[in-house]
């Protein structure tokens, strides 16, 4: 599902963010990406949804070679990927339901069943009854649920999350990870960059550790620390 071959990323400023990274993630896997601040976790995630392009090497995601992908193909590729961030990236002038429906409407998937699908997703992420609330009327955890609902509404093949619980307390974080795990159980490949030590330790999933742009560890059922 995901393959990185000798991938290096040098930012304009000359910063080497990733240094000859090789990895393979199969369909249906759940992968944690851990490492100290500045290690290159976000860079790795950004390469996976083609927010950034590799300076060297090859990135293949869901059958697309992202290095050679044409500009106009990017939107269609992105529809196969759901992305969740630490800061939720919601639209604050739109309700919960509108935020989730947004992903369908602006990709032309609009139709009669939009409302039905959105309501169903709202109940999946545990926000039943809050569909008409605005994001600033919700707690951080609830906002992240909205973001996850938006990421999942198109049934993506891959769910990417960059520190999805960075702004949340431990209990709420756990709930969010339960939700992400649920998507994984239904078949979505999941890659999560995180600092949530306790959760990584309790979930016992594959752990890839990055340090200074290099993969230093890749454990099948790993913990946050070696």
């Amino acid at each position: 599902m995901i393959r990185m071959k000798d991938v290096s990323k040098v930012y304009d400023a000359g910063v080497l963010a990733l240094d000859r990274v090789n990895l393979e993630i199969r369909k249906g896997e759940f992968v944690f990406v851990v490492g100290p601040s500045g290690a290159g976790k976000s860079t790795l995630i950004k390469l996976l949804y083609r927010q950034e392009v590799p300076t060297e090497g090859q990135v293949v995601v869901a059958g697309n070679d992202l290095g050679t992908m044409r500009r106009r193909e990017i939107p269609y590729f992105r529809r196969k990927i759901g992305v969740v961030f630490q800061d939720f990236k919601l639209l604050y002038d739109r309700t919960v339901a509108e935020n989730i429906a947004f992903a369908l409407i602006v990709t032309g998937a609009a139709g009669r069943d939009v409302i039905r699908r959105v309501m169903q997703m709202i109940s999946v992420v545990g926000l039943k009854g809050r569909q008409n609330a605005y994001p600033n009327q919700l707690s951080g955890g609830e906002q992240q649920r909205v973001a996850i609902a938006r990421a999942l509404i198109r049934n993506p093949e891959i769910l990417l999350a960059d520190e999805p619980t960075g702004n949340l307390d431990p209990k709420t974080s756990l709930e969010i990870f339960r939700l992400i795990e649920r998507a994984n159980i239904y078949g979505t490949t999941v890659v999560v960059a995180t600092h949530a030590r306790h959760i990584v330790d309790s979930m016992r999933k594959r752990v890839i550790e990055i340090k200074s742009g290099s993969v230093v560890r890749d454990d099948r059922r790993g913990a946050y620390d070696r």
């Binding site: 949804y49 500009r71 106009r72 990017i74 939107p75 269609y76 590729f77 992105r78 529809r79 992305v83 990236k89 639209l91 309700t95 339901a97 509108e98 429906a101 947004f102 992903a103 369908l104 409407i105 602006v106 990709t107 032309g108 609009a110 139709g111 939009v114 409302i115 938006r150 198109r154």
Partner: protein
């Protein structure tokens, strides 16, 4: 909740115009001014055509004859002119006829003519109507060669003066339109840029969830078009309204000036031209501000 793509496009367009009321108004205003000037040029053009027609119909060559010649000599000249190719009608006006006409013209103001006394200062003349206006300059040149012809006057001179006057005023209004049109494009572009800036976050999310560039820029282009068309409607109304007023005023005060009544068909033509120009202005304005964004 709006769930259709069309609803989304229209909703976003409406919102972006409403949220930037002031710059939207400014965009509409400058577009309206540009299109108003286009309308003025359009009307001038229509009237020139019309005036040429009128003038050509009335075109008559006035051949003034030497005062010292005899009636026989006058008759000879008359015959010579009549024999020229392309001449449709010739009329001889004697000195007495000319005075009679003048008296007729100033019937109410007999005092004006009192000073003339017994002396008739008016020359005898021959009036020529041509089959075709294009033959006039040639014919005039030939008539001037006839001995005993003092002076030749014809309205084609007026026509050519009219034409150059028309050309100048047309150039001025078109030039004005071009300048104001460019300003309108810039103002619209600026207005759209404000919206784009205000919506950076939203655009980023659209890209994230896989919206195509076309869809992302759609509302902005549509906003430009709406502003351009609104400007067009105002500009056209202004031009048409003002013109109707001018026509009625002129017909009242200067009834002999040929001026074209704006028919429904021409008004519609004008509206089409102006609204399409409005669309072009709007599209240009919005694409300029999106160009940089589109390349990203």
């Amino acid at each position: 909740m709006r769930t259709s793509l069309a609803g989304y496009l229209l909703g976003e367009t409406g919102k972006s115009i409403w949220r930037n009321k002031l710059s939207s108004l400014l965009s509409c205003g400058t577009t309206a001014l540009a299109l108003f000037l286009l309308g003025v040029a359009f009307i001038i053009n229509l009237n020139l055509g019309f005036m040429f027609q009128v003038v050509q119909k009335q075109m008559e060559i006035q051949v003034y004859l030497d005062k010292e010649l005899s009636e026989d000599a006058y008759a000879e000249i008359y015959e010579a002119v009549k024999a020229m190719p392309g001449v449709a009608e010739v009329k001889y006006v004697s000195k007495a006829d000319a005075l009679e006409e003048l008296k007729e013209m100033f019937r109410d103001k007999a005092s004006v003519l009192e000073g003339l006394g017994e002396d008739n200062p008016l020359p005898a003349s021959v009036r020529v109507n041509m089959v075709e206006a294009a033959m006039i300059p040639e014919t005039v040149a030939a008539i001037e060669q006839i001995p005993g012809v003092d002076d030749v006057e014809y309205q084609a001179e007026a026509a050519s003066r009219l034409a150059s006057l028309g050309r100048v005023s047309q150039a001025v209004s078109l030039g004005g339109m071009a300048v104001v049109g460019l300003v309108a494009i810039m103002v619209i572009s600026n207005s759209i840029r404000l919206t784009v800036d205000a919506k950076r976050h939203e655009i980023a999310i659209m890209k994230l969830v896989g919206a195509t560039d076309e869809l992302i820029v759609g509302p902005f282009i549509l906003t430009g078009i709406v502003l351009g068309v609104l400007g067009g409607v105002f500009g056209a109304s202004l031009a048409i309204g003002l013109y109707s007023w001018v026509v009625s005023t002129i017909q009242e005060l200067l009834p002999f000036v040929p001026i074209l009544n704006l028919t429904v068909e021409t008004a519609v033509d004008m509206l089409i031209v102006m609204l399409s120009t409005g669309v072009v202005v709007g599209v240009l304005g919005s694409t300029i501000s999106l160009r940089r964004y589109l390349r990203v």
